[in-house]
């Protein structure tokens, strides 16, 4: 579904503080699976997710999404793909303060021009699934961490994307909430969605919900099939 070939990403290219965060990555990610990236801090996990999720463009190399080369597309077109096909869950949740949970959730639907009523119905359905209906009119700053997390998830789902991208989704959650999050993830796979996530959290990386773990090293990378990390887990690989 997503193929990366010879991906390199430089920051501040051509300047003295030039930094190559990714240096020649080849990788194929299957549809309908949960893939976790792990590796030391600064190894470029977040950078890789932004490339895959159409948030930025590689300095060189190709990214193919469902057969289409997206690495050379201008932002305008990347945004369109991102809007339709990717849902994002951020570590900091990144909800907009002062708006209610519901208003936050329907925000990604605005540029699509879907009628408001339709967006709200869709949002309420998702709230229902995430057991958050009772908090939908609350301002997000009054919500608990777990509730905020679920609002963020709901927002990622509103445009019904095929791929969910989550950067350190559990970093701000306690163990119980992290488990709950993993349960929600399993629901996504059941629906046929692809999930990409990064995590330091063994609870996430080693959970049953994760089908594949990819280890990252500083500016070099290695991909490892799950069994190499932990043998107790079942894996299709």
């Amino acid at each position: 579904m997503i193929e990366l070939s010879q991906i390199k990403k430089a920051f501040n290219q051509g300047q003295p503080n030039e930094y190559w965060a990714l240096n020649g990555i080849d990788l194929t990610l299957e549809a309908g699976k949960v893939t976790a990236f792990r590796g030391p801090s600064g190894s470029g996990k977040t950078t890789l997710l932004t490339l895959v999720g159409c948030l930025s463009r590689p300095t060189s190399g190709r990214v193919r999404f469902k057969g289409q080369d997206i690495s050379g597309l201008p932002e305008r077109f990347l945004t369109e793909i991102r809007r339709q096909s990717f849902g994002f869950i951020f570590q900091q949740f990144n909800l907009i303060k002062g708006l209610t949970a519901l208003e936050n959730v329907i925000l990604p639907g605005f540029p699509t021009g879907r009628p408001r009523a339709e967006l709200i119905t869709a949002a309420e359905e998702i709230f229902e699934q995430l057991k958050l209906s009772h908090r939908r009119t609350a301002k997000v700053e009054w919500l608990s961490g777990g509730e905020q997390q679920r609002v963020a998830i709901a927002r990622a789902l509103i445009n019904n994307p095929e791929v969910i991208i989550a950067d350190e989704p559990t970093a701000n959650l306690d163990t119980a909430l992290s488990r709950e999050f993993m349960a929600i993830l399993e629901g996504f796979t059941a629906e046929g969605k692809t999930v990409l996530l990064t995590s330091h959290d063994p609870l996430v990386v080693e959970s049953d919900a994760v089908h594949r773990v990819i280890g990252m090293r500083m500016a070099v990378w290695s991909t490892t099939k799950k069994p190499c990390f932990s043998s107790q887990q079942s894996s299709p690989y």
Partner: protein, 287 residues
């Protein structure tokens, strides 16, 4: 300006470099700025003409906008340059619109080339306008409307509708031709396989029909009067532009009806009128 030159020289859509990203983002700035210029220019043109008409009371012999514009040498050049800016901005926006439809921005060099052209024109227009307004001094005797309108059917209105928008129209169509030609050429260059045969080139994902789409889009723009102005028929174009206002005003104000409304109103005010025509109130209010 140097930026536009840089874009033309270094534009490379395939690159993910920060400079390329910066180029692409600047495009938003220019399209926003030019939309602004376009809207402002349209408004300014209308206001310019209508206010010129209104101001005619200030100038001896100027009974309408033509008279006001003739007050100094910069009136008509300023009007024309404003119209040129308007058309150029409209054209740029149309090109930009088409260009950003295709993911590889096929018209980008043309776009920035036009921008380089547009900047001095805008500066000139601004300078002319400034000169015109600075040169406006009330009570300067102008070539009277009477002489302009006098004689045969060849009035200034006829003259202007025949002449003035022509350079603008010419420019517009000329640039359109250049743009389409450029697009075709680019298309040909980028996808030779496709150009020569109908076989779908599969060399990369981008080449597929995008240029063709861009050109088609452009053609649609020319057919449909929606975005710039219905310029296909010069008459229609003129009518829509600020000139309509000018000529309507000219015809209406050809001769200012002497005190028709005022007299009726003043009839009810017994004594004041007689007095006020004397010099005394003038001296008092003016002094």
């Amino acid at each position: 300006m140097p930026f536009a030159v840089q874009v033309i020289r270094h534009w490379d859509i395939r690159s993910g470099s920060e400079r390329q990203l910066d180029f692409e983002r600047r495009t938003y700035l220019f399209s926003t700025l030019l939309t602004f210029v376009f809207v402002i220019q349209l408004a300014a043109l209308l206001l310019f003409v209508f206010n010129a008409d209104r101001l005619s009371a200030m100038f001896v012999g100027a009974m309408c906008a033509v008279g006001t514009l003739n007050v100094n040498d910069f009136g008509f050049p300023s009007l024309i340059s404003q119209m040129v800016v308007f058309f150029l901005a409209a054209m740029w926006l149309a090109i930009n619109h088409v260009d950003t439809r295709a993911p590889d921005y096929p018209l980008v060099k043309i776009k920035y080339g036009l921008l380089i052209l547009l900047l001095p024109v805008m500066a000139l227009s601004f300078w002319l306008e400034l000169q015109y307004f600075l040169g406006l001094k009330a009570n300067v005797i102008t070539s009277c409307c009477g002489s302009l309108f006098s004689g045969d059917a060849k009035t200034i209105a006829g003259e202007a509708s025949g002449m003035e928008p022509k350079p603008a129209l010419f420019l517009f169509y000329g640039a359109l031709t250049a743009v389409i030609g450029g697009a075709l050429w680019h298309w040909k260059k980028a996808c030779p396989a496709q150009w020569l045969s109908t076989r779908r080139g599969q060399r990369n994902g981008l080449c597929r029909g995008d240029h063709r789409r861009a050109v088609l889009h452009f053609a649609l723009h020319i057919r449909a009067p929606a975005p710039p102005l219905p310029l296909l028929h010069p008459q229609a174009g003129i009518r829509l532009s600020g000139l309509l206002a000018l000529f309507a005003a000219l015809r209406r104000h050809r001769c200012r009806a002497g005190g028709g409304r005022g007299a009726a109103v003043c009839a009810g005010r017994q004594s004041a009128p007689d007095h006020s025509a004397s010099f005394s109130p003038l001296g008092r209010i003016g002094g």
